[in-house]
Symmetry: D2
Subunit: 240 residues, 4 copies
């Protein structure tokens, strides 16, 4: 766990993946930056490697993240992604073990240690409640427990999954932040997750696969607003 | 094979791999750019993804290449590297199947086709004479046949390897350029390869692992000068 | 290329993959063995590693093949599959680079050499006409060019694909045998391929995914009969 | 966790890896079988896939394990290793995530569930104390925590590593057995581990890389005797 992580609940993760490239990534980043300022919500912007520097140089509030990195140290490894290289380009953190880029347990542990060493925040994906608990033992900054094991079963409510997977992480280490994020498509998906107690939520295709810049920018604003409104409502309820 | 490739023999490939990162990559690129202009030698500069755009924006003569890409089309694939993304960042080509990033035959074929489609020059590594011939059947722009099968045998001269591997490629398709590059460390290594008939040669650790910027820049100048002088001597010899 | 390969055209490859396991694999092997004797057709039987020895010990005519192996030499590599180990268990050959087990070009070349060294026949899959030519440069005993690049295009006849992919292989090395095999489901699929000039064809799910032993055994007999009848018809036509 | 696992402390794991093949594997298995009977020590014998059935059919006391399996269900996957296939061949369990066959966290979780489902005991390797705790969250039958993070530091005693890694596992689930096994070379290595409180230990190259059958068989007898004597001494000490 990188100790100087400044990201605080409630926050939101946006990842254009490869739905967008080139100028479209920057456009989305600018919209996210504006929403972050407007709603006072921390946003992790996970961008293709090629856009890390440009996004960082052109935004003020975003926490720019790399989508992956390898655990190597400076040296060989032509196409490997080096911690120090993403850091030097402006990244503040790195996503690891996304279901589209799975890595072995040993590599995951080594990569989290490299992130700590290089001063990068680590956000690690897990595919179930059990995996979320396992990842927590490796001590990253943030865990994303995707609820694939419950999806479609109809047996357990969203609220129950949020509760159980959060508990699986926090019982191991309460300092780890939990991002609840599968299948987010609109304001109410975001609102429900944050109101239910998640530290954070996020969205990729629900934003990036929209066909126009206007639609993407509007969706970013809508979702970040949902974070703010749900969080404030949660605090208000608690306060009562 | 991307038809509008403008790289011409003699050329040289420089790859800092992960020996360098951040500003040191740009410094090396600037030195390479100057040498390219000074000696009128085309230089492929294979840079970590994070530096593609910066190197391209700050140089005039370099052919900037990505160290790898994946064959996916725009869409999912969080940490995959998209052809259109490296192109949009300023890359003119892509290296594929380097021994530090081996890919399956099917992926290699698909990646070469994606490069063609996206307008990227493809440079493909092979590990032996037989593999060089196999790769030639897939029709990339440039092939790098690393002579591992002969290294240390003492049975075959460097000139023989250059000849045999060049022949393995050109007999399949004479338009494919051949870069002879293993173990280049100094002026005379470069000179020998180019004088022996190679279209190109290149160097990674022999430049990038040098401890200071001054040493790296001097080595770049020395090697590019060797390309020019060896090539001119070859032409002169032919002309006689 | 292993020089003492005794497999001759026309032949047929049967692979139960993981559709079957345990005694069902042996049952299918026995049916194949009977059909091989009855129709005088060589059959490659590609079996899960665990059944290599049992199939070999209980059959007389089958050419038993492993579905994959790794290029390592005896030593470490806990779960790697060693050439000498599959040979000692009774395998006569090994399949490499199947689309369900793709390997890098360097590994493919090394594995073919290991097969030669250990006295194993190599059968290598390729995903297109271009790949078939590339694989031919690596000199295996048998190539399986799957016509994925033409499937569904409607532009090219089966006969044209058989001709072009066979030519892509034989023009590199006429001693390499060619197995034409995608999508074989019945007598007439087999007949058409062999009659069109293929050295061999084969079938996995078209046999192994049938629900009963009786259905599988009947299909094996039908397909091997088709090999024999098509080949004889081809010879007769030629003879005229 | 497969609930009907009959392996009990103290036990020992022997894995010939690829140091041995063919008849040599069977010879080693017979020696292990005799030692298991003689000293009343459970032995896991992890054998290449090709020898599972033969070892099982020719021994009486060994717990035969596969060195790896894939999480697929019956169907496609030509060269994948199916749980039901290793079970049908006689395997009682499966090793997962060995450092020579690392798998992703998601695949590891799925494979443990498949082992449970197919009735196979799961033994999972971890590369450090933190990983041992992480793996414990996935609930396998046995965990092997290799002490790579402490090796050579000189800061921590063997006894401390045994204690800390055992605690990392047992604090998550006390039913999980712990095998302490790196670098076992002789009687005293085995004795020390078992006496220090390990449920089990094991050996690969320390046995399998010995040059003759006689040396291997003698070493097996010596190590299994050490298990028995150390365990009895531990019990005696406790009883006092």
């Amino acid at each position: 766990m990188f100790k100087r992580c400044t990201i605080k609940a409630p926050f939101f993760e946006i990842g254009p993946k490869n739905y967008l490239y080139g100028d479209d990534v920057l456009d989305l980043a600018l919209a996210a930056d504006a929403a972050s300022e407007k709603y006072k919500v921390d946003i992790i912007f996970t961008t293709p490697y090629t856009e890390i520097r440009r996004v960082k140089e052109n935004t003020r509030f975003l926490h720019v993240f790399a989508p992956h990195m390898d655990p190597l140290k400076p040296g060989r490894g032509l196409a490997d992604v080096l911690a120090e290289a993403v850091k030097a380009a402006g990244a503040e953190g790195v996503m690891l073990n996304h279901c589209e880029k799975p890595i072995s347990l040993g590599t995951l542990k080594a990569s989290i240690l490299r992130a700590d060493e290089a001063g990068l925040v680590s956000i690690v994906c897990a595919d179930s409640i059990a995996e979320a608990g396992a990842v927590a033992k490796l001590n990253p900054n943030i865990i994303v427990p995707e609820p694939t094991e419950l999806v479609g079963t109809g047996q357990t409510s969203d609220e129950e999954y949020v509760r159980a997977s959060t508990e699986a992480v926090k019982s191991v280490n309460p300092e780890i932040l939990v991002l609840q994020g599968a299948g987010i498509k609109c304001y109410s998906d975001v609102y429900r997750n944050i109101f239910a107690g998640a530290d954070a939520t996020g969205c990729s295709s629900g934003i990036a696969a929209l066909p126009t810049r206007e639609a993407r920018n509007a969706m970013v604003d809508e979702m970040i607003r949902a974070v703010r409104e749900a969080y404030d409502a949660r605090l208000a309820q608690k306060g009562r």
